[in-house]
């Protein structure tokens, strides 16, 4: 089967990509194995849509906005199935209850999202009984399937998903004993901490790690190791792991990653021509709005590529240095502006981003008040801002 653009994954990124590609006139095949909306359908808290739709709404409502629009485009074919193989020649094997079909695409948008880090990847000792779940699985069990998963919980990780889970658990009648954070600072914004933890008097333990899980059948208690080496035992029957996510990259092993994962240009195209990538499949983000925005870019340019309208030729590199741990995109297409997402490796209170040329001379500064590791900072660069390769560093204004 032939298609102009194949979009793999129907979450916040893939939905936006499919619509953007169809708007440009391409025939689109959108493959999703579960429910359209992906992990967003688990979210029943009002944290979405402000940026894109100018109003706050739940994850489900946010998805509805896209799926309603989807039906307006006869060019988009939605396939409920799983991509079991993807070739560098843009063929994809798709398995569904209707059979196993091979699709040939002119451009591919990878929007397959991320997976959560699980307890087995952390340096937590002890047994592995029932009652250990990732935050995503916990949210799905409570919000989608209406299940009871515990009575007393400890949440590992103070990022957005840990906090969201802690709040949701509390509203479901589970007593959240504490949220533990390995670092000396919280990975989320102060507002989020108030909204999810302080309002419910959930303690946040900083510089604290769950070092051991005990229990043979079900979780009985955990040991929490504090920064001074002091240990504390907390009784609970549920451990929720919210220790970060990683892009799901099994399908596109043939795309050569850079030092920090897959790199793209400001059209979301990878170093393999015709393969575009967006959303959490590229790098893990908090808000869905940014993910959809990136999906829109990827879908639009994938359509242009498929329809042979425009292919970016020249791009300048942006390289993270110093406190800047990563940034996207790494290449800015010459003569165009782009929004750049920057991550730092420690909180910087009064920050400013400096852009330096190859000789170390600062050619431009962008002010930004606070930057925290848990949240990306987004800045817009004009076409005139980027006329050469640049190095990016976060400076503290003392």
């Amino acid at each position: 089967m032939q298609t102009d653009v194949l979009v793999i994954g129907g979450g916040a990124a893939g939905l936006a990509a499919a619509i953007a590609a169809a708007e440009k006139g391409a025939n689109v095949t959108l493959v999703e194995s579960g429910t359209l909306g992906g992990t967003l359908v688990r979210r029943i808290d009002d944290s979405f849509g402000k940026q894109i739709f100018g109003e706050v709404m739940t994850g489900r409502e946010y998805v509805r906005r896209f799926t309603d629009k989807l039906s307006l485009y006869p060019r988009i074919r939605v396939v409920k199935g799983v991509v079991t193989a993807l070739g560098a020649d843009k063929t994809a094997e798709i398995v569904s209850t209707d059979g196993c079909r091979v699709y040939k695409a002119k451009a591919v948008v990878l929007a397959s999202g991320s997976r959560e880090r699980t307890v087995g990847m952390l340096d937590v000792g002890g047994t592995h009984p029932a009652g250990i779940m990732t935050a995503g699985a916990a949210l799905k069990a409570m919000n989608v399937d209406g299940r009871r998963i515990g009575t007393r919980a400890v949440v590992i990780g103070s990022g957005e998903s840990g906090l969201t889970a802690a709040r949701r658990l509390t509203l479901e009648g589970v007593k959240v004993e504490c949220v533990t954070e390995r670092m000396p600072y919280s990975a989320c914004t102060p507002d989020m901490k108030v909204y999810c933890l302080d309002d419910y008097r959930i303690p946040l333990l900083l510089s604290a790690e769950v070092s051991e899980i005990r229990g043979d059948v079900r979780v009985r208690e955990v040991v929490i190791l504090r920064s001074g080496g002091e240990e504390q035992t907390v009784r609970c029957d549920l451990v929720v792991v919210a220790a970060g996510r990683m892009p799901l990259s099994a399908l596109y092993g043939f795309i050569k990653p850079g030092a920090k994962g897959i790199e793209t240009d400001s059209h979301c195209m990878t170093c393999s021509a015709g393969f575009f990538i967006c959303g959490n499949a590229l790098h893990v983000r908090s808000g869905a709005d940014n993910v959809s925005e990136e999906g829109r870019i990827a879908g639009g340019y994938a359509a242009e590529y498929a329809l042979k309208r425009r292919i970016a030729e020249k791009a300048y590199w942006l390289t993270p240095t110093g406190n800047v741990s990563a940034l996207w995109p790494q290449r800015i297409v010459a003569g165009e502006g782009a929004t750049v997402a920057v991550r730092v490796n420690r909180p910087i209170r009064s920050a400013c981003l400096a852009f330096k040329d190859g000789t170390g001379k600062t050619v431009m500064r962008k002010e930004k008040l606070t930057m925290i590791p848990g949240d990306e900072t987004r800045i817009y660069l004009d076409a005139e801002d980027v006329t050469q390769n640049l190095y990016v560093v976060a400076e503290e204004n003392l």
Partner: protein, 471 residues
């Protein structure tokens, strides 16, 4: 619960690989066999958490039972596995030496191997070792290459033995923890913790980690030691083609780097004396494993990590296998079956069953077919499977590409828990470690077994994924 419906000829205590292999071998003869297992399924003890290596047999000291059954088991293994539809890959294995003193150890092991009757065993030079295994440390001085060694899927081996034993008439009783024992004139009556009982003319202790207490129950005193082995599992592709060992020390074979038949690979096991029988993982063990494995295969710890797990070895004081008749009545013990028990299982079981001189059962069928898998098939083959049964097209575990049809078949073959499905099919063993499919597996178990999802356990009774309304 089981009442005294009939008298069995043999009652095997323990559904590990040894108990299942013995049960299957006994069904070759005209005899009635029951296996009682305290847990909810077979393969929950050491048989479900080990290295899965079919050792050629150069390691055990000549003259020991370990030496005899290891070498014999390894020779039997390829055809044994083929009949049972169990994967066996003859990868070969490499034991690497560093420096001159370790090089001498290779000679010692080579001689042991020759004495044990191991074929195709050679001490090779550094260059040849590096050609066989490109990522092994270039610091090595020489290596022992054992071409006959291989790897298997230990879960599938145990399940296959159970399925085949069942097919040939053996019965399995789960949730039967033998805690009482009554010797009568011509039989032994075993009582379980939950009140059931089983009567048999002969009782065989294959209780693995429980071998000590079970021996006492049956009237014999044995002393067993527990040593835990921790592992770290990495995603595919494997960094090595074959198991890579260092030179063994007094604690055993040491940490190794090995591919699994799934294409993933692992490092381990550690060796930690343990008082408790349930395996657990120590905080910090990951670092210990990394530093040991890095010596063998530099850079290995940078590979994408999936998870960690642990298994418990239960060994006799002298470290050998012990197979003997107990002091009271028709009681037998097959104990101290730590490594290489998996390799030795076919040889131990067949010699043991033969020793009773029973009459052959002509209808015995040694063949078992594995579950037909969709992963790894071509597009046309996948299409054919799905057009026969559309449930093959419903992929429930995306990471390992496992469909609803396979899960249903695993349940038909005896999976009762999420872990039972996982060990039979590899669901939840991939990148997401079950966070994306445990709920779907639980829902299928509930549907197929006709129970509420709150009553579906992760493994042991009471380990439900979800709580009931009253909890």
């Amino acid at each position: 619960m089981l009442y005294n419906v009939r008298m069995y000829d043999f009652c095997i205590i323990g559904g590990g690989v040894i108990g299942c292999a013995v049960a299957r071998e006994l069904t070759r003869y005209k005899t009635g066999v029951v296996v009682v297992e305290s847990r909810e399924d077979v393969c929950t003890g050491a048989s479900g958490a080990n290295s899965g290596i079919i050792h050629a047999g150069y390691d055990p000291v000549p003259g020991t039972l370990k030496a005899k059954y290891n070498a014999l088991g390894a020779k039997m293994f390829p055809s044994y596995a083929a009949a049972l539809g169990v994967p066996f890959v003859r990868t070969g294995s490499l034991l690497v030496a560093f420096g001159e003193s370790e090089k001498d150890m290779l000679r010692v092991l080579l001689e042991r191997g020759e004495k044990n009757g191991v074929k195709n065993l050679r001490v090779i030079k550094k260059e040849e070792a590096l050609a066989l295994e490109p990522y092994v440390s270039p610091e090595l001085s020489a290596a022992l290459y054992s071409a006959d060694a291989g790897i298997t899927n230990p879960f599938e081996l145990t399940y296959a033995l159970k399925e085949n034993a069942e097919k040939n008439g053996a019965r399995f009783e789960f949730g039967f923890e033998a805690v009482t024992c009554e010797h009568t004139a011509d039989a032994i009556k075993l009582g379980s913790a939950s009140g059931g009982y089983v009567t048999a003319k002969n009782v065989i202790n294959c209780a693995g980690e429980g071998a000590g207490p079970v021996a006492r129950l049956l009237g014999d005193l044995v002393y067993m030691k527990h040593r835990m082995g921790e592992y770290v599992l990495f995603d595919k592709p494997s960094a090595v083609r074959m198991p890579v060992f260092g030179v063994p020390d007094e604690r055993g074979k040491g940490v190794l780097v090995s591919p699994a038949v799934s294409g993933k690979f692992f490092i381990g096991p550690t060796s930690v004396e343990s008082k408790r029988v349930n395996p657990y993982f120590r905080r910090g063990a990951v670092r210990e494993l990394f530093s040991a494995a890095e010596k063998l295969v530099p850079g290995v710890s940078c590979a994408p990590r999936l998870t960690k797990y642990a298994g418990m070895r239960t060994a006799a004081a002298d470290g050998d296998f012990h197979i003997f008749k107990g002091g009271r009545g028709n009681v037998w013990h097959i104990i101290g079956t730590d490594s290489p028990g998996l390799t030795a299982a076919p040889a131990i079981a067949s010699a043991f069953a033969r020793s009773f001189g029973l009459e052959r059962e002509p209808s015995f069928d040694p063949v078992r077919h594995g579950i037909v898998r969709i992963a790894g098939k071509s597009a046309a083959e996948k299409q054919a499977l799905i057009s026969c049964d559309s449930r093959y097209g419903n992929i429930v575990c995306r990471c390992e590409c496992v469909s609803e049809a396979e899960v249903i078949e695993a349940i038909k073959r005896g999976a009762r828990t999420v872990d039972g499905v996982k060990k039979r099919l590899g669901t939840g063993m991939g990148k997401c470690q079950g966070s994306g499919c445990d709920d779907k597996i639980a829902a299928l178990l509930a549907r197929e077994l006709g129970k509420s999802i709150e009553n579906v356990d992760k493994n042991v009774c009471g380990s439900g994924l979800y709580l009931g309304e009253d909890a």
